[in-house]
């Protein structure tokens, strides 16, 4: 056999030359210190990550409190055990450092064929932005299980985390991550979702607090027929940086994905970044995907970066599309509401509520929906004042 034909036979068919999407690995050396000019880092103020790229050892932890039905178990895994599970490897340096420094992971296990009546709520809270915390979490949803899992971050810390989500064949998972940090918190990390055959995952991310939040969420499929929905909302105040990077890897046929992130910005120096990418591999025939990002700029001095990408390697698909909008209040919507006798401040509030409530109502956990709407109301107080209409009426 000639050298050439050997090379042809062994070259990976699915190797894609692209700088757009992250390639995960547990090898820390493959995640070098960024200079800030790399495509994936150019929007992030690196200094404000305050040590999450340096990787100093730390044994500080966030306080954990898990409210879960009795079928759900939590246990400790070594890093080797996590890798053996076949999770998506970390795609950026903070997540890789989190794996390297956390000294093992916490496994939250929802057994196969289990249908949970109540949500699993993981409360994570920190005391001070002086604490450097490395976190490593694995969430496993067994075959044909049905569950809702909420991660809630409060207080303050400098927190980098690697979160692996394994969703078994035919399982249905509702996943929510709430970033309700204090003003000085720093949070970076990667959530890597593996979607089983015919499984369905809906992931909602809400980032309202923190000085800097930079979250990467990736999804790939372990079999055909899986479905992923990624929804997000963020409210960015003055001098706050909130960055969401989404990547869906359609590596299996007849899979579906839908991404919809919405944000509002207010105050000088408010900066949001949304990067969406969908890769449709050659094998992914019959897939359907759409991603969308909408930004509402409430004051001068804000900056919203929004970049949707599509990498298409087969045209034998049902559909693929994306959309991105960034703008201020729609004058016609305000004019309409005012023409019906609604005062301007209330009209502005209604428009923002409509914008966000559409995402929040997809969560399906009533008390958390109410808390998020109240949090949006608190944010709006900065620019439009308190409501004269009770929030309950709006929902």
């Amino acid at each position: 056999m000639s050298t050439l034909s050997t090379a042809v036979e062994t070259a990976p068919v699915e190797l894609v030359a692209s700088h757009l999407h992250p390639v995960g690995t547990f090898d820390l050396d493959a995640h070098p210190m960024p200079s800030g000019r790399e495509e994936v880092w150019r929007f992030t103020p690196l200094k404000r990550l305050r040590g999450l790229l340096d990787g100093a050892a730390s044994d500080a932890h966030l306080r954990w409190k898990v409210d879960a039905p009795e079928q759900v178990t939590t246990s400790r895994l070594s890093t080797e055990q996590v890798q053996a599970l076949g999770v998506v490897p970390p795609v950026d340096r903070p997540a890789a450092l989190a794996v390297a420094n956390a000294g093992g992971a916490v496994l939250i296990d929802i057994p196969a064929e289990t249908e949970l009546d109540d949500p699993v709520v993981v409360h994570l809270s920190g005391d001070s932005a002086d604490d450097l915390v490395w976190g490593h979490v694995v969430l496993r949803t067994g075959r044909h299980a049905k569950a809702t899992v909420v991660f809630e971050h409060t207080g303050s810390a400098r927190y980098a985390a690697s979160t692996s989500v394994l969703v078994g064949d035919g399982a249905q998972l509702e996943l929510a991550s709430l970033q309700l940090w204090d003003d000085d918190a720093v949070h970076a990390g990667h959530v890597g979702i593996t979607v089983g055959r015919d499984a369905r995952v809906r992931s909602i991310s809400a980032s309202l607090g923190g000085d800097l939040v930079r979250l990467v969420e990736t999804a790939e499929y372990a079999g055909p027929g899986g479905q992923v929905e990624m929804y997000g909302l963020y409210f960015v105040d003055a001098e706050q940086h909130i960055e969401h990077r989404l990547f869906v890897d359609h590596n299996q046929p007849r899979t579906r994905s839908n991404v919809d992130y919405r944000g509002a910005l207010q105050g000088t120096g408010a900066h949001s970044v949304w990067i969406g990418d969908v890769l449709i591999r050659k094998v992914a025939e019959g897939i359907e995907t759409y991603e969308s990002n909408r930004n509402l700029v409430l004051t001068d001095g804000c900056r919203a970066d929004s970049v949707p990408n599509l990498e298409i390697e087969t045209g034998e698909i049902v559909g693929a599309g994306h959309a991105s909008t960034t703008g201020r209040f729609d004058d016609e919507q305000l004019f309409y509401l005012q023409s019906r006798g609604v005062a301007e401040a209330d009209a502005r509030r209604l428009v923002v509520h409509g914008f966000f409530a559409d995402i929040i109502r997809r969560l399906g956990v009533a008390d958390i929906e109410a808390r998020l709407l109240a949090a949006v109301e608190d944010e709006l107080e900065l620019t439009v004042g308190r409501p004269r209409i009770p929030t309950e009426v709006l929902t």
Binding site: G36, R37, R42, F43, P45, L46, K47
Partner: protein
């Protein structure tokens, strides 16, 4: 200005005047913020050490005619006012007050613009 006076007025010592060579920027730390300090003749200027367009330190760029150039895309900023002179930058960079006591350079912790 004495060291005590400088501290009282919100200035910090960043380097000796002898450390600065004409038209060669120096990156210094002022209260946790990176500032580019530049000597032009007998004057010393200080601007926020990040281009207002992209995440690039201005102190790595060239200085000419009292302007500092971002090496990545070529925007120039007036060292006196911080104003962006040419595209792609459109926003000014913050300018910091500078005080000299003969041998040392002091930079204010709050930008003037």
């Amino acid at each position: 200005m004495s060291a005590a006076e400088a501290e009282r007025d919100g200035f910090v010592r960043v380097c000796a005047l002898a450390d600065l060579r004409d038209d060669e920027p120096l990156q210094v730390d002022v209260d946790g913020t990176d500032v580019a300090v530049v000597r032009v003749g007998d004057d010393v200027y200080a601007v926020h050490d990040e281009c207002s367009h992209a995440n690039v330190p201005l102190s790595e760029g060239d200085v000419e005619d009292c302007t500092i150039e971002c090496w990545l895309h070529g925007s120039r900023f007036d060292l006196r006012t911080g104003a962006a002179i040419n595209l792609p930058a459109t926003e000014p960079v913050p300018v910091y007050p500078v005080a000299l006591d003969g041998t040392d350079v002091y930079v204010g912790t709050r930008p003037t613009t």
